[in-house]
């Protein structure tokens, strides 16, 4: 927000904070623009209370956390929680399951909405387009508990989809089909909603570019490949980087609702493990350590993806 001050100095834009070396300049700026600071206050408070304050909780990862003592009274045990996790029988499997589920989800789930948006862009009938859009983003608004119920029912031994596929065994309880169902239903859930942002980007493409391409003899495919796609490339990359930053956070609730002992070998992921350890077994320190480890990996991936993208395409988050 830009505030008219009427004074001689132009107001300080946040981007120029880097130039400030003098504390008196800040004071001056505060005096002049205190309204802006005030408006920002709720946001700052929000992040301080809900994003930064709870971070103190990671201390538990280095403690043998006791309910009685809390943060201050629990004994410190260094990295024991971490080494226990690394030595755990299921360590390798948890990491692999988490990674491979997310990876498939990224591989198939990421391009789907882009493709969908491109196809929708080619549609001429506005009414038809609206109907299709509404239908496809409906699943996004259904509660995950209901979604899981539907999935369990449709993929049970006499469920609708199981019968369509010509099978008679319970597919959701089967190791070989769990991942496909998980990723497939994820696409179904998020296709419509995730394509909205691409459609918004598409509506911003300059119409003259298409006319020029048509003059050059480009057909529909040519236009899509050489005009549309490059125009939304920066949106795609930003979203991809964000997605990679979340690579190891597969949708925890959905797995928790769908998995069963019979599919643990492909469905048990870091977050579900953390849930069982922390909330069900009250092993808070250990559970926090595992969660912290997960976040650290995510952060590392985000930075790597951002760096790579910066080098290759000059588009980056930071």
């Amino acid at each position: 927000m830009y505030v008219e001050t009427g004074g001689e100095l132009p107001p300080l834009h946040p981007c120029r904070w880097g130039n400030i070396v003098n504390i008196t300049t800040i004071k001056k700026d505060f005096k002049r623009n205190w309204v802006v600071y005030l408006i920002a206050l709720p946001v700052v408070v929000f992040f301080a209370v809900f994003a930064y304050a709870p971070m103190v909780g990671v201390l538990m990862a280095f403690q043998n956390y006791q309910i009685k003592g809390g943060f201050l009274g629990s004994p410190w045990i260094g990295l024991k929680n971490f080494t226990d996790f690394f030595k755990s029988y299921y360590f390798g499997r948890l990491i692999w399951n988490t990674f491979i589920l997310s990876f498939y989800d990224l591989l198939f789930g990421f391009p789907a909405p882009i493709l969908f948006a491109l196809l929708m862009n080619e549609l001429r009938s506005v009414r038809y387009k609206r109907v299709v859009q509404t239908i496809t983003y409906m699943p996004y608004f259904i509660s995950i508990v209901v979604i899981a119920g539907i999935i369990k029912d449709f993929f049970s031994s006499n469920g609708a989809i199981t019968l369509l596929l010509g099978s008679t065994s319970n597919l959701i309880g089967n190791v070989s089909s769990f991942r496909s169902i998980f990723v497939g239903t994820n696409i179904w859930q998020f296709l419509g909603f995730n394509s909205v942002i691409y459609m918004a980007a598409l509506s911003g493409v300059d119409q003259e570019l298409y006319d020029a391409a048509a003059l050059d003899g480009a057909g529909r495919l040519g236009k899509a490949l050489h005009v549309t796609l490059p125009s939304i490339m920066s949106t795609i990359i930003i979203l991809l980087i964000l997605r990679i930053g979340n690579l190891l956070t597969v949708s925890f609730e959905k797995i928790l609702l769908l998995y069963a002992p019979s599919t643990y070998s492909v469905s048990d992921v870091i977050t579900t493990f953390t849930y069982r350890k922390g909330l069900l077994e009250s092993n808070y320190g250990y559970s926090t350590a595992v969660g912290l480890f997960n976040s650290a990996l995510n952060f590392l991936m985000l930075v790597t993806a951002n760096f790579t993208s910066k080098k290759l395409t000059e588009t980056s988050l930071f």
Partner: protein
């Protein structure tokens, strides 16, 4: 460009402050420090009772030397007193009330004792989460209701050491003569109701007429048996023949139901193979055994695999967590053999979609006819539920007296049966029993819905399990004798407890083992893992440390036996 005038600047100030405060407030409500802790007590009158009140709650007879139950002079308190209780509920109360203090029983109890009760209930199915969060919040009610698996992390001794749970030994001695009476007259209760360190940490429900017979067991479709000209099955081979007929002649898609871990729960079905696993371990002559290491378990898994492949087992069992099988299977002809609680067997009749639907309770199968089994669903003398006082209890002595009233001759009958002339009549034999209001409720309440409203739901009571027999149809009443007919519970594990260190070590090793076992057994049964790998499975269990776990359990069992 936005221009903000002096006036609107002034309006932004309160707005920003309100927004910030609104953001912070809900955040602190949960984690609150000093202010929050006072909240549960804020409505209780924690003031000392006046001197004249001393006699109000005192026993009318003083048991001198000999042990006797005593009645209280009512009301127990002369000034209003409120007790806060955290307690899980069951689906059985949802129709009649949202909170237990609305029940006829608690209203009557308040009239008699002068003590009112405020309950906090966790959401159904979220009990463990809610309990752990409650313990962590540091804001305790006066009483928490504990259940197996829903107890202080690290055990009750640790709860006492941590200063969260109140040690009750002295209070029971001084203020709970009726509870003390049962502890001393029913020897096993003392073992079951005390911790390793000899603490009384909670008031337990006590089955004052001895342990309850099995309340859950196998049932099969009797009308199907009759039309197939088949006898009630006795051996596993009989079962195989029966299930095959159910599948082929009756078109059942899930002839027999199974729970997601690959067993019928509570050791109801597999006793014939000589293992039990509802408590993870079992014991023979005071020696701890672990089911998957037993030869019988391998045979069971082998048989289940065969039955599954032949389509005799519910093909979707691996994704079913229900404690009792879903009614859309049991009442529609999809399933012919399943397990059920004895007093709800007949409730399947009302929902049945088929003409002539009939069920019969059957004893657990054995390998050969006429074998005596040692595994079945058993019950301890101290029931499933107990009430522990927390360190936040406003006036422990009053609360203990109030609880003890429920064990006194008068309070005991009120808790079990409700009020005479309303939900209970005294029979010609002088024994109380529920009347039609409970077993044939005019408002359409089921038996348990009705007694949970008119009598006490859960909590610490002197428990009379035979109260459930009132007005039951024969098919329900016949079930328990049948289930007991060929099985005693001699191999079942008594309620042993681990010390904190043992508990931590056991959990660290056993959690992975449990995951592994649950996974493998289901895979063996569904054929995703070849049975040839069973030996490797056992080897893996050993290398993961199952033997150390058994040592820990053995020590706890020895300790329990020598208590």
């Amino acid at each position: 460009m936005v221009k903000i005038s002096k006036k609107s600047k002034l309006m932004i100030l309160p707005l920003a402050v309100i927004l910030s405060v609104a953001l912070i407030l809900p955040g602190c409500g949960g984690g609150g420090a000093e202010e929050g802790t006072a909240a549960p007590e804020s409505e209780t009158t924690a003031t000392e009772a006046p001197i004249g009140d001393e006699t109000a709650g005192a026993p009318t007879e003083v048991a001198s030397g000999s042990i006797e139950r005593v009645d209280y002079e009512l009301p127990l308190v002369s000034e209003p007193f409120t007790i806060h209780i955290w307690a899980p509920t069951s689906a059985g109360i949802q129709k009649t009330m949202t909170n237990l203090n609305e029940s006829y029983y608690y209203q009557e109890l308040e009239k008699r004792t002068g003590v009112s009760v405020e309950f906090t209930h966790p959401a159904l199915g979220e009990e463990l989460n809610a309990f752990n969060l409650l313990i962590n919040s540091g804001q305790y009610p006066d009483i928490v209701e504990l259940q197996p698996g829903l107890t202080y992390p690290g055990g009750l001794d640790k709860g006492i050491a941590d200063g969260v749970i109140l040690r009750l030994n002295d209070l029971i001695e001084s203020s709970a003569p009726n509870y003390k009476y049962f502890l001393e007259t029913i020897p096993i209760t003392q073992k079951e109701a005390s911790t390793n360190e000899g603490n009384y940490a909670a008031f337990y429900s006590i089955s004052v007429d001895g342990p309850q017979p099995p309340w859950m067991g196998m049932v099969v479709r009797k009308d199907w048996l009759d039309s197939l000209n088949m006898e009630v099955p006795v051996t596993f081979d009989d079962w195989h023949t029966m299930l095959t007929a159910f599948k082929e002649e009756k078109g059942a898609i899930a002839p027999m139901m199974l729970q997601n871990y690959g067993y019928v729960p509570l050791d109801i079905f597999h006793g014939g193979y000589g293992f039990a696993n509802s408590a993870e371990y079992f014991q023979i002559d005071n020696v701890i055994h672990y089911a998957p290491l037993e030869e019988g378990h391998r045979e069971y898994v082998q048989m289940m695999n065969q039955w599954f492949t032949e389509g005799l087992i519910d093909q979707d069992f691996a994704s079913k967590e229900d404690f009792t099988p879903a009614k859309d299977y049991t009442t529609t002809g999809k399933a012919g053999a399943f397990w059920e609680m004895y007093h709800v067997i007949s409730s399947n009749y009302d929902m049945a979609t088929e003409e002539g639907y009939e069920l019969i309770a059957v004893a657990a199968p054995s390998k050969t006819a006429g074998e005596q089994l040692h595994v079945r669903q058993t019950n301890t003398t101290t029931g499933m539920v107990s009430w522990a006082l927390t360190s936040a209890a406003s006036d422990p002595e009053k609360i203990v007296k109030w609880i003890d009233y429920g064990y006194s001759p008068e309070g005991d009958i009120l808790a079990a049966y409700g009020v005479e002339g309303v939900s209970m009549e005294i029979g010609s034999d002088g024994k109380p029993a529920f009347n039609e209001l409970i077993y044939a409720n005019p408002d359409g309440l089921s038996f348990s819905e009705a007694y949970n409203y008119y009598a006490k739901h859960g909590g610490a009571v002197a428990y009379h399990w035979d109260r459930e027999y009132a007005g039951q149809p024969d098919v329900n009443l016949n079930a328990q004798p049948i289930w007991m007919s060929n099985a005693d519970g001699d191999w079942m594990l008594p309620p042993i407890t681990l010390s904190t260190e043992e508990g931590t070590e056991h959990a660290q090793i056993y959690t992975d083992i449990q995951t592994y076992t649950r996974e493998m057994v289901v895979k063996f049964i569904t054929g995703q893992e070849s049975l040839e790998n069973y030996d490797q499975y056992v080897e893996q269990l050993k290398s993961m440390g199952i033997e150390r776990c058994m040592e820990i359990q053995q020590a706890a069992l020895d300790r329990f036996n020598s208590k």
